[in-house]
């Protein structure tokens, strides 16, 4: 036994007791009730219906590009976001490789995010302060963003949307429509949603990689 193991053995008996297993279960239950986790499928279906309805009402595509600076509330910026002109840009990015596969995936992600963030916006003002995206790995997102075990590949895209969000098709606290400031969506390597969370504080995504501003609704 070396000195590190010796220290550990001595300290093991002095570790303060933590919450009981039942306390943790209660905490997890409360959190589950507050947060919508799991598959995006049900919301995606509703959003698709809303999207079709919106298209029937107005043939003009709704393009919203948010170039406002990120709010400082709850966020200590640790990364300088690239200028809008340098963002990946969903099909015309300067950073991401301009291959067909990436374009399709980004468009797919953008479509889902735009639907979730904008489909129910009753307010004519853009409800989104900013949206940002980071490309990371499956391992880095384990246990976060309502991740589910299924999903293609090891690559994961995390999109965080901050604004006065009002998603009437979503299930928020008390199973009612979600109104809040923050929505995080997790996508697999194929661009399919594999998890999402609502509420809480905006997260510093720079811990997962380089963060880029996402111009919501801009697809080619």
């Amino acid at each position: 036994m070396n000195v590190l193991e010796q220290w550990t053995d001595e300290q093991l008996t002095r570790v303060p007791s933590g919450p009981s297993a039942d306390d943790l279960r209660r905490r997890a239950r409360v959190r589950r009730n507050r947060r919508v986790g799991g598959s995006l499928a049900a919301v995606a279906i509703v959003l698709a219906i809303l999207g079709i309805a919106a298209m029937l009402r107005s043939p003009a595509p709704r393009h919203v590009e948010v170039l406002l600076p990120a709010p400082t509330i709850g966020v200590e910026p640790t990364t300088t976001l690239p200028d809008a002109i340098n963002v990946p840009g969903f099909s015309n990015g300067a950073t991401e490789p301009k291959d067909k596969r990436n374009s399709v995936i980004y468009d797919k992600i953008n479509h889902t995010v735009s639907g979730a963030a904008l489909a129910d916006a009753a307010d004519p003002k853009a409800p989104v302060d900013f949206a940002e995206v980071v490309v990371t790995t499956r391992h880095a997102t384990i246990g976060e963003f309502g991740d589910t075990p299924n999903g293609a590949g090891d690559r994961r895209y995390v999109v965080q949307v901050v604004g006065d969000l009002d998603c009437r098709s979503c299930r928020g606290p008390g199973n009612g429509p979600f109104r809040g400031r923050v929505m995080a969506l997790l996508f697999d390597a194929a661009g399919d949603g594999v998890g999402f969370t609502f509420g809480g504080e905006p997260q510093d995504l720079s811990r997962l990689g380089t963060v880029y501003r996402m111009p919501i609704g801009l697809t080619t």
């Binding site: 070396n2 590190l4 093991l12 933590g18 297993a21 943790l24 997890a28 790995t137 391992h139 811990r207």
Partner: protein, 164 residues
Amino acid sequence: MRVVAALDFDDWYAAQRPRVYLAMLALSGDADLAADVTDEAFTRAVANWNRVSAMESPGGWVQRVALNVARRRLRRGRTERRLLRTIGGPSDVSPPTGEIWDLVRELPERQRVAVVLRYVADLTEPEIAIAMDIARGTVASTLAAARERLAGVLVEEEIEEDVQ
């Protein structure tokens, strides 16, 4: 049938918590932060217990979650102390001090984390690979490099023990 799949959460939690806590304490030097991230990691474990218990290494998983949470909170520069502890008073455990820990703190981050996971969290090399999201071979070489830098102190202690 894998043994871990037969364990219920309560037993696993009771067995794993002290070492996860000590590993986080050794890495952060902050008892409150260590308790907080430990509780957070196990809360996520119980929330996903069906999936976690079927994993190759639930211990590696929970250490990885704790490391991720700790890194994020340390990077933010502030500790969100939302302690769930309803039992027990102030911690009797102090952040590790002494020559050996000074040397450990001087190690590069990857070596420091690997050493703590190996000797404090008592994880095997495959489990450390899962916890750190690196290849098993990299774990072995990282630990070897760390041992080389700590060799003087570690060997000395081991010799003393042998003499006893």
